[in-house]
């Protein structure tokens, strides 16, 4: 039986212990929160096949290692475009929210883009892009390039080796959102070493639906001196670039009190 991140019990998703945040074992990880909201939005009602063009997640507070319920509202509904809001409830409070723009799904697969200038996942070393998701974590990462002191990007391939929810296929959009949420870890260069930088939000932009198991992120961090940094990720699959992602990172000194979310 395939390992699963969550199992469904009625309307609730019950987390497996691997969902634990690396920052705090009582909390769910950001990738699990982003994945649940993306999944809920993908399952929203629609007259025809729709796909997510933009998804914005606000992490409002800690999501405890408890059963969760996702509530979805169609703010704008129509055949050409939908705006979908999703709230993630834990016990009786909303712990995270997302809004998404959905557009009609393409009828044909997209033409392949130019080949990626990176080695294949099989040729890249199996390494955690953050020290928190190590060997054996369901989100397997292969590092293509580490960020350098001159601001060069961090590049990694990732695939999710579990089912997100037991008994159902895991969509590539859910996987792309999870991968986008760890991209900051792959992009932290030498100048960021003394800083914690949890992300307060996550925005993922899809020009088309991703394809295949392995997805690639190329990530740089822009930072001014205001204590906030922005990741700039380009997302790709074997067929080329399919989207972008951004995270707003809240910086605090690594020796200060660690909090999972600012």
């Amino acid at each position: 039986m395939t390992h699963a991140y969550f199992r469904q019990e009625g309307e609730l998703l019950v987390p497996d212990r691997t969902v634990r945040s690396p920052w705090n074992p009582d909390h769910q990880s950001g990738i699990a929160v982003a994945g649940q909201l993306a999944r809920a939005i993908e399952r929203a009602a629609a007259a025809g096949p729709m796909r997510i063009a933009r998804l914005t997640v606000d992490f409002l507070g800690a999501v405890l290692m408890r059963p969760t319920a996702a509530q979805v509202e169609l703010v704008r509904d129509g055949p050409d475009v939908q705006l979908v809001e999703a709230a993630l409830w834990v016990d009786s409070a909303i712990a995270a929210k997302a809004t998404a723009v959905r557009v009609p799904a393409a009828e044909a697969p997209p033409p392949a883009g130019p080949p990626l200038p990176y080695v294949s996942p099989e040729a890249a070393p199996r390494e955690g892009v953050t020290r928190y998701f190590g060997e054996g974590h369901p989100l397997e990462t292969r590092v293509v390039q580490r960020p350098d002191a001159d601001g060069g990007p961090g590049v990694f391939w990732a695939r999710f080796n579990s089912a997100f929810v037991a008994g159902e296929p895991t969509s590539a959009v859910v996987r792309a959102c999870m991968i986008a949420d760890i991209a900051s870890g792959a992009a932290a260069g030498p100048s960021m070493r003394d800083w914690r930088m949890p992300n307060a939000d996550l925005s993922v932009y899809f020009a088309r639906e991703p394809q295949g198991d392995w997805l690639l992120a190329t990530t740089q961090i822009d930072v001014a001196d205001q204590g906030v940094a922005a990741t700039r990720s380009t997302l790709a699959d074997a067929g080329g670039v399919f989207g972008y992602a951004r995270q707003m990172l809240i910086l605090s000194r690594a020796n200060a009190d660690a909090r999972p979310r600012a």
Partner: protein, 258 residues
């Protein structure tokens, strides 16, 4: 300075759009830039955001806003030690035309790291005054020529609102940045037939803008499916934000074929 009127005048229960706020292509509607400016101004004025820096502002354009009295309501989703999250809803003529969400972050402790961003483009004063056609009212635009990347000329322009969003409040850099960001798609597809409507405006700030002249450096990613327009936003001190706009496929194809 071509426009003297502000985009909106305040009323006891909201705002009245002026002629400057009209969509030049659809005179019975308000321009997206005007809505972006009003939402930015309203969120920034919320007490929960006081003393904090904007980090992200995402605007979803739900329906064309009729040229009618306009209200903005906001509420606090989270008010924390380091971050505040606000939501806003813009109603025009009784119709909810836009929603927004904003992330504000408290300024850092001393010594936070910084990447140096040199201002990479010709100064405003050195760029020729070039209107974007059809010209939006209330803006001065200066096209920055050049910049061949991959054989494609990337459109870049300095954009500045020439008037206040709301009468009596002065011109505000954040509103100017959101208004300039609303031209990302227009600039990104310059040269192609235009007229397509974006679905959203999302801006991610590494610092707040310092002035109202905003350089928009745009490009478009369209590998099938939808088009994503992206721009880097800079002021005279350098890069301060990245902006995104989404466009549905069917509209993109239609506009392209026109």
């Amino acid at each position: 300075m071509t426009a003297v009127d502000p985009f909106f005048t305040p009323t006891p229960d909201g705002f009245l759009p002026t002629a400057v706020a009209r969509d030049p292509g659809q005179p019975d509607r308000q321009a997206g830039a005007a809505l972006a400016g009003l939402l930015a101004r309203s969120l920034q004025a919320a007490p929960a955001a006081a003393t904090m820096n904007i980090a992200r502002l995402t605007i979803d354009l739900l329906h064309p806003a009729p040229f009618a009295p306009t209200q903005v309501l906001w509420r606090v989703l989270r008010e924390g030690r380091r971050t505040t999250v606000l939501e806003a809803s813009l109603t025009a003529g009784g119709l909810e035309a836009a929603r927004a969400s904003a992330l504000f972050v408290r300024r850092a402790e001393e010594g936070a790291p910084a990447t140096v961003f040199a201002p990479p483009f010709p100064a405003v004063e050195d760029a020729p005054q070039t209107p974007i056609e059809p010209g939006p009212a209330g803006f001065e635009t200066r096209l920055v020529t050049g910049g061949l990347e991959g054989g494609v000329e990337r459109p870049r322009a300095w954009i500045q609102p020439t008037t206040e969003v709301v009468a009596g409040e002065g011109r505000d850099p954040l509103a100017a940045a959101m208004m300039a960001a609303s031209f990302t798609l227009r600039l990104g597809e310059m040269g192609a037939a235009s007229g397509a409507q974006p679905l959203d405006i999302a801006v991610h700030f590494v610092r707040p803008p310092r002035e109202t002249w905003i350089l928009v450096d745009a490009d478009t990613l369209a590998p099938g499916g939808a088009a994503l327009a992206h721009s880097q936003l800079s002021d005279r001190s350098g890069l301060f934000a990245h902006a995104q706009q989404t466009l549905a496929t069917s509209r993109f194809t239609r506009a392209d074929a026109a």
